[in-house]
Each structure stands twice: as C-alpha cells, then as structure tokens.
Amino acid sequence: MAKKTLNIVESAYRAVMEEQDDTILWLLAAMQAAGSEHTVVLRGNAVNYAVAGQGVPGLTIGEWKQTQTPKMDRDVIDLVQKWMIPVFVVEEDLRERGIAREELVPGVTLVARSSLPALFAEHAVVSHW
C-alpha cells in the first residue's frame, strides 16, 4: 500500500503558460496513475487554481500561436474527479483574496488553518511545493 502523501501547493502560476498546466498538479496526477496516494492542499496564491471559469488567451509571437492554454480550474476538477485526489483549499487564504466559496469548482473542500495539523497527522509524508 502506498504511503499517503499530503502535498501543500503554494507556488502558483509558475510556468503554466509554457507547460500548459501546473507542473506539481501534473506530477501528482501522473504519480497517482502510477499507484501513489496523494492529497492536495492549495494555500497562498495557489487557492486561485480552484476558481471556476478562469482562462487565458494563448501566447502569440508573430505567426506562431499557442493553441492549448492552461486551464487551472479544469486541472483541479480532473484531480478530484479523474484522479481521485482529494483537494483542500485553505479558507483563510481565500478570504484574504476576496474569493467566495461559490466561486470555486465543485468537489474541493475548505479547510481552516487550525485544522491542518490534524490533516498532517493523517498522512505519512508531507510535501510542501
């Protein structure tokens, strides 16, 4: 049985245009497919990944055009629904940014900072990205 790993994702929108996704969410999905057992906590600026309806126009340089732009809300939904990875969002970090629960994609769970130690205790490994 795989070690349960809690992944705290804080670095946000780093190279998502060039990679067309978030490299850590991608890594966790790929590892889950290989048999890992992951949980994700979005904190800091990364809470914005869970905001529904976000998007960005592709990069254009002369006649070169990017056709597959990153869609972070889609990637969070995929984590929950396709890859069966629980996703928590730190509610204080949402509040500080003026983001309401109603703006988030379905399937994510809010967690208070004071509840994080209990979440840590449920996992064998805690990784902070």
């Binding site: 780093r14 996704d21 790929a30 990069l59 340089i61 002369g62």
Partner: protein, 136 residues
C-alpha cells in the same frame, strides 16, 4: 526619425517561470513596430534557443502529441526572428557562450548566435533602452 533599438536581458531558463512569457509578449509587440531588437540570453535563458527541444504528448491531459501541441521556446525564438524581419527590424539574439557550455545547449536555432558579456556591453551602448528581466 531614427530607428528605435531595444535590448532585453533574460536569465530564466525555459519552462520554469512566467517571466519569459512576459518577455516574449514585449518582444512580439516591439517586433511588430519594426524596432531593432537585441536579446542577451544569460544563464538559464541560454537554453531558450536550444534546437533539440521537442514537444511531447500529455497523458495526464489525455492528449496525443498533436492535440497537446506543446510549445517550445525554440519555436518562439524562431517566430520572433521571422516577425522582426517581416516588419523591417533586426533581431540579434545572443546566447551567452559560457552559459551554453555549462548546460551543453550549443545547438541553436538558425539566426541566433553565441556571444559574451562584451555583446551586452555593446548592446547597452547602442540601445535607446534596456530592460533586464532577472531570475527571482
């Protein structure tokens, strides 16, 4: 009216930050205006024009190679070279030679060249303005 010449110094490696996307957006606009452009690709940015970059499929996205259509910075550099020329400007893209050697990325896309800090000095002297986008 004399032609505008801009220099941009880059440090970030490809696929690591949003800084390069910002740089390419600025460079694209400048190219469309017919400016002469100098780029000094320093440290990790020396890999931007590395010719052996290859796109890949994305199994997490469930997309094959064509569907994912993954961007490469070498293609972006080549597109910038073409766009600059199309609008009557010049792009002198210099890859820091020692940075290139450290990383083993000496095969560049055509139209870029190997250089040294002396090129950044020359660019600075000849430019109307210089923008540094450093690694943070």
């Amino acid at each position: 009216m004399s032609k505008t010449t801009l220099t941009i110094a880059l440090m970030d490696p490809p696929y690591e930050s949003e800084n390069l996307t910002t740089a390419f957006r600025i460079l694209d606009v400048a190219a469309r205006r017919g400016y002469d452009l100098n780029v000094f690709a320093y440290e990790g940015a020396a890999g931007l024009a590395f010719a052996r970059q290859a796109p890949h499929p994305n199994p997490v996205h469930g997309k094959n190679l064509a569907e994912e259509n993954h961007p490469t910075t070498k293609d972006q550099v080549a597109a910038l070279l073409a766009e600059t020329e199309r609008h009557g400007g010049k792009l002198d893209w210099v890859n820091c030679g020692m940075c290139v050697d450290e990383r083993g990325v000496s095969e560049f896309v055509p139209g870029t060249r190997r250089g040294s800090p002396a090129d950044l000095h020359a660019f600075t002297e000849a430019s109307d303005n210089i923008l540094v986008i450093p690694t943070k």
